[in-house]
């Protein structure tokens, strides 16, 4: 080696080069993406998550969920990610997703939890796997919980199901500087009512159609699946509903004997039933049931975590990505080039 100065300069230059190539230039290329919207500036995707879901992200990180669960789907030519279906729903199970993940899906994520290993299934679309119309789920025998009506009076589209209480509540403590609209709509950027339900995950469907029948537009299998899901045996809550997530977090193997997930009992509270049983109490039967006069209820962290899970949804079409199961031509957003 000739001397000290060239050595140091070379050392610094090599790392500078790699930083330039793998951090700086990509930042110029994809570091300043905006949400996409259609020509009228509606149907905006993605949207920031509610405050509750963002807090749920911290719970998700704190307990290291992202070490086992990825949040990215690879394209169809690279892997069979988007052909895969979820285990839990026996009849017409939801798919992992309809399209690959793209940088735009993550623009509000901080951090973007892409994940590295899959000891558990991918969660990029776990929110979409929830029964489309949860209120239709008779698996929830209990009357509508007190919380739900408070959080969301009849919303623009699907009305709040009991099981969705956690997600619906998102709207309430949402940190966004918006007026509290009565609908479960987190606010701000959206000009139209229908796609706005990022929190509830009902609205992230294409199409600025009038609210009434919207959920069916993009995912026919989904909607048709819902009723059959409810027919699923026994007392388990409808697969991937908020109640299901709570039971799954509390006692994974009560829902899937093959699950390798640790239980997160510390996110739940066991307490005496005072008067009537709480609406969000986990309805565990058999082994692990809390016993007469006791109930297991989620802590606020657990509710946030479930709100976060319910908010994970990349099903909205992106102009730069082709969807495997392209929605029928009826979907206007897919047909139109979006503003950005």
């Amino acid at each position: 080696m000739k001397g000290f100065t060239p050595l140091v300069l070379g050392i610094l230059a090599t790392l500078a080069f790699s930083w330039l190539g793998l951090a700086y230039i990509p930042d110029l290329q994809i570091g300043h993406l905006d949400p996409q919207s259609d020509e009228e500036g509606t149907d905006i995707y993605p949207m920031p998550k509610s405050g509750m879901a963002e807090r749920g992200r911290r719970v998700y990180i704190a307990n290291g969920c992202f070490y086992c669960h990825s949040e990215q789907l690879r394209p169809d030519y690279a892997a069979s990610d988007i052909e895969r279906t979820r285990d839990a729903a026996p009849s017409s199970p939801p798919k992992w997703g309809d399209r690959r993940s793209a940088p735009r899906d993550y623009i509000f994520d901080r951090p973007a939890l892409l994940g590295k290993t899959r000891m558990g299934p991918d969660l990029a679309n776990i929110g979409k796997a929830a029964p489309a119309e949860e209120e239709a789920a008779p698996a929830q025998p209990s009357p509508a919980p007190p919380a739900a009506p408070a959080a969301s009076p009849p919303a623009s589209n699907a009305s709040p199901p009991p099981a969705n209480a956690g997600a619906q509540q998102n709207a309430k403590p949402a940190a966004q500087p918006s007026p509290q609209t009565p609908a479960a709509v987190p606010p701000a950027a959206n000009a139209s009512a229908s796609p706005a339900n990022v929190a509830a995950q009902q609205g992230a469907k294409p199409g600025a159609q009038p609210p009434a029948p919207p959920a069916s537009a993009a995912s026919p299998p989904q909607t048709t699946a819902a009723p059959s899901l409810t027919a699923s045996p026994s007392d388990s809550p409808a697969a991937y509903s908020a109640a299901w997530h709570h039971q799954h977090l509390y006692a994974p193997r009560s829902l899937n004997l093959d699950s390798d997930m640790p239980a997160y009992k510390f996110l739940y509270e066991k307490r005496r039933v005072g008067g009537e049983q709480s609406a969000d109490a986990i309805k565990l039967r058999g082994e692990g049931a809390p016993g007469e006069g006791w109930e297991i209820v989620p802590t606020y962290d657990a509710k946030c975590l479930v709100a976060y899970l319910m908010s994970l949804n990349q099903s909205h079409p992106l102009n730069e990505v082709k969807s495997a199961a392209a929605p029928p031509a009826a979907s206007p957003a897919a047909a139109k080039p979006a503003a950005k």
Binding site: L22, A23, A78, D109, A112, L114, T117, S259, K265
Partner: protein, 496 residues
């Protein structure tokens, strides 16, 4: 070759073969000046190693027995795992690497270490940073970035500590005597200049002025792979370039090859970050560039491997006697295995199956343990006797350490690769339920837990041996501790 000729303690620097009494005294003075800080770094590293090993075993068992102690938040798998990882990265590996680097720097710059207490202060702060970080992770303060889970209050302490340590090491260059800069010094200097830059760049782009969305993951893996290659890898390669020629008493085969190896390493290894995100939501060129860089890393692997091999040629039988050589050569060979596995898992056709499987865990362990840690163990077997003035007490303990480590990491790698392949194939078959892939890897994970027991034994044995040395209970002898008797039966004599 007669093993008694092993010039383990004989003077004679690699750069300058002229030997004299003066130099011997001078070297003793240099060693003495580094005694307190280097032993302090080593002792801290070993404490972290033991803690990290216990956490590792816990992580490993919990992965196939999820109900084990899962009801306490602090002990949940998702907190123990990053705690283990970060203790190993910043507690064990960085501490032992920096300790070795301090000693090597002083030796190679032929300068006594001035004000060693500054380094002790730096080391103390570093320990504090790691401790804060681990407590933070267990308390649920993890940042959510791989290999950077330490919360920012710990990161700040770490960075301050690092600045103290690094400036002291780099300052030694100012006082160096003898101008030809030896290969080891390139690597060490590079490591000490790269680390603060990548750490600061990652902290800035992730926390201070965060980049958008998926770029966080890109910066994250850019950092993580650079930490693995440019920080740990450089420290280990630099150490190997010192230890191998030193132990066998023969200069490095080719400076020219070494220079090629160094610059191609710096150039290509720094580009490999996106290899961990094959076909993720990124522009394809980023991933392709990293795959190409990973493949091109074969060039430094081949040149370094060839150089070591040619240096060692004819001297391989010495591995029978010298613990340092045995560990170092094993580590250097693992560098090749590690790099080849890196190429395999980053190729798109393999990544399809292996990307999200346990094979990536095998890859990290090959790099950090089989390559880096084994070389560092070798360096400690060489350096510690020179600092405490005693020789290692029991050859048998060194042998147990070596074989338990080798079988441990070997079994672990096999289990994770085989299990990961089964897991990955099942995962890519959409007709199987997903749990099929996790269920199919569980037997292998149990096997991995067994390998962890072996490594735990190795580490505790080593720690005990090191403690004996610290307490001055080593052997007082003029010859180093050989792994096997130096005058074996004639039949056992290795022909040369």
């Amino acid at each position: 070759m007669n093993p008694t000729e092993i010039p383990l303690k004989s003077p004679g620097s690699v750069t300058d073969l002229s030997i004299g009494e003066v130099e011997q005294v001078e070297r003793a003075l240099i060693d003495a000046s580094t005694r307190v800080p280097v032993l302090m770094f080593y002792a801290s590293a070993i404490v972290w190693l033991l803690l990290g090993t216990l956490l590792a075993g816990f992580t490993s068992f919990k992965l196939h027995s999820p109900d084990l102690l899962s009801n306490v938040a602090v002990l949940t798998w998702g907190r123990i795992r990053p705690a283990h990882l970060n203790v190993m990265l910043y507690g064990w590996a960085s501490m032992v690497g920096m300790g070795t680097a301090i000693w090597l720097m002083a030796r190679l710059c032929r300068t006594t270490l001035r004000h060693p207490l500054v380094l002790v202060t730096g080391g103390a702060f570093w320990n504090l940073g790691v401790l804060l970080g681990v407590i933070g992770i267990l308390a649920g303060d993890s940042t959510g970035y791989h290999w950077l889970e330490f919360p920012s209050y710990a990161a700040v302490v770490l960075f301050v500590a690092y600045s103290i340590i690094a400036s002291w090491v780099v300052l030694m260059f100012r006082f160096r005597r003898g101008d030809p800069i030896y290969i080891t010094q390139w690597y060490l200097l590079a490591a000490f200049l790269w680390f603060p830059w990548m750490y600061l760049a990652a902290q800035t782009m992730l926390f201070i002025v965060p980049v958008q969305g998926v770029l966080q993951a890109a910066v994250n893996w850019w950092y993580a792979n650079n930490l693995l290659f440019l920080w740990f890898g450089s420290l280990a390669l630099g150490t190997a370039y010192y230890m191998i020629p030193k132990v066998i008493g023969r200069p490095v085969y080719s400076y020219h090859l070494a220079a090629i190896g160094f610059w191609t390493y710096a150039f290509f290894a720094s580009w490999t970050g996106m290899q961990r995100l094959v076909d993720g939501p990124f522009p394809a060129w980023m991933i392709t560039a990293s795959i190409a860089a990973t493949i091109l890393c074969i060039i430094p692997v081949a040149t370094v491997g060839l150089n070591h091999h040619m240096t060692m040629r004819g001297y391989f039988p010495l591995m029978r006697y010298s613990p340092t050589l045995r560990f170092t050569v094993f580590g250097a060979m693992s560098y090749t295995a590690f790099s080849l596995l890196g190429v395999v898992i980053s190729l798109r056709s393999f990544a399809r199956y292996l990307q999200f499987s346990e094979v990536s865990s095998a890859y990290s362990h090959l790099g950090l343990y089989a390559f880096f840690s084994m070389i560092m163990f070798g360096a400690m077997y060489y350096i510690v006797p020179r600092l405490v003035g005693r020789e290692w007490r029991f050859a048998s303990l060194i042998k147990i350490h070596f074989w338990a480590s080798v079988y441990g990491i070997g079994l672990m790698t096999l289990m994770l690769i085989a299990g990961g392949m089964v897991q990955g194939l099942n995962m890519d078959n959409p007709t199987l339920p997903f749990t099929e892939s996790t269920q199919s890897v569980l037997p292998y994970l149990r096997g991995r837990s067994l390998s962890g027991i072996l490594m735990t034994v190795a580490h505790f044995v080593f720690a005990y041996h090191f403690l004996l040395m610290l307490l001055g209970l080593g052997r007082t002898a003029s010859v180093p501790t050989f792994l096997n008797p130096v005058n074996p039966e004639p039949g056992e004599m290795v022909a040369h």
